[in-house]
């Protein structure tokens, strides 16, 4: 049961980060130079591989309860960030994140920048593409390593992230435009619920507590977090209408 949630959580969280990275690479590729942008993607992927290879084995040496406590606490604050923004957006207090707008902004910035060539590459295209993929990729790596280590299966978490990479990559190639068709806030809402639920579950185990029914409690926690979030959206919507 928790293996399914692990893959699903890693998949959703990674997909959101990859959509953001893809938006940057597409904007740079379209306006500047595809070759430099793609070399930037390749260089960032290699750098990420080195970081993961260095950090991955170190995590397996940490005692599992300490790891669950640290990971659980991190996921809780991390998940609540996502959930908080998703609830604010769903209740109309915050504008929905618009990938079209982000894409247009990246395009304008890329066109405005001067052309500087280094080692036969358009340096602006290379560095922007590298930075976008490396930073978003670092977040994906963090998600995979922490989820996978705490649940005892990095390969399962990596499978979830790999699935997201294939899907987002395929959609990116197919549309070659910002992925505004992806219902971003719904995706972020789901990620926030999953991260927060895993965070609650692992933190209790990390401090030495036990869940009634052990792993079977996880779906109940997910339902609780989802229902509470839906209630908050409803309360905030009503409050906004009452004040309007």
């Amino acid at each position: 049961m928790s293996a399914v949630f692990l893959v699903l959580s890693a998949f959703l969280a990674s997909a959101v980060e990859m959509v953001e990275a893809l938006t940057i690479v597409l904007a740079v590729g379209v306006t500047r130079d595809w070759r430099s942008a793609l070399i930037g993607v390749g260089a960032a992927t290699l750098a990420l591989g080195a970081v993961v290879a260095a950090l991955g084995p170190a995590l397996t040496l940490v005692p599992i309860d300490a790891l669950r406590l640290v990971v659980g606490a991190l996921l809780l604050v991390f998940g609540l960030q996502w959930l908080r923004k998703a609830i604010l957006r769903a209740s109309g207090y915050k504008a929905l994140h618009d990938e079209d707008e982000a894409y247009a902004r990246e395009l304008a910035e890329a066109r405005a920048a001067g052309r500087e060539e280094r080692a036969g590459l358009d340096w602006y295209a290379f560095t922007l593409s590298f930075k976008g993929v490396f930073l978003e990729g670092l977040e994906v790596a963090f998600i995979v390593l922490t989820f996978g280590s705490a649940q005892g299966s990095i390969p399962l978490a990596a499978a979830g992230a790999g699935g997201a990479l294939v899907l987002v990559g395929a959609v990116g190639v197919a549309v070659r435009a910002p992925l505004s068709r992806v219902p971003e806030n719904t995706l972020k809402f789901a990620v926030g619920i999953m991260l927060t639920s895993f965070g609650i579950f692992w933190t209790i185990e990390g401090v030495g507590g036990h869940w009634p029914g052990d792993d079977a409690a996880l779906p109940v926690v997910i339902v609780f977090v989802a229902a509470t979030s839906a209630l908050f959206v409803s309360l905030l919507r009503r409050r906004k209408l009452a004040l309007a």
Partner: protein, 89 residues
Amino acid sequence: MRFFRFWWDFIVGDDWRVAAGIAIAIGIAAALVAAGVPAWWFLPLAVAAVLYASLWRETQRSWDVPDASLRPPGRRAQCRSTGPEGTGS
């Protein structure tokens, strides 16, 4: 400096009070377990309370709604942006 800024934005995000509230809640949960009291019921409730408090604060001070006509007349002048999107959320 940018390295620390990245990790701060990545983990703590827009409202540091959420991170502080969660740290306190974890401390209380650990104390409950140490005292031999089951703590599984406490953390979900504490998380819900911390989240709602943060949302309440944000909606009190921020009226970043797409449709400005939805803002109460008295609050339109106080409207402020909630700032750029945080990393990863």
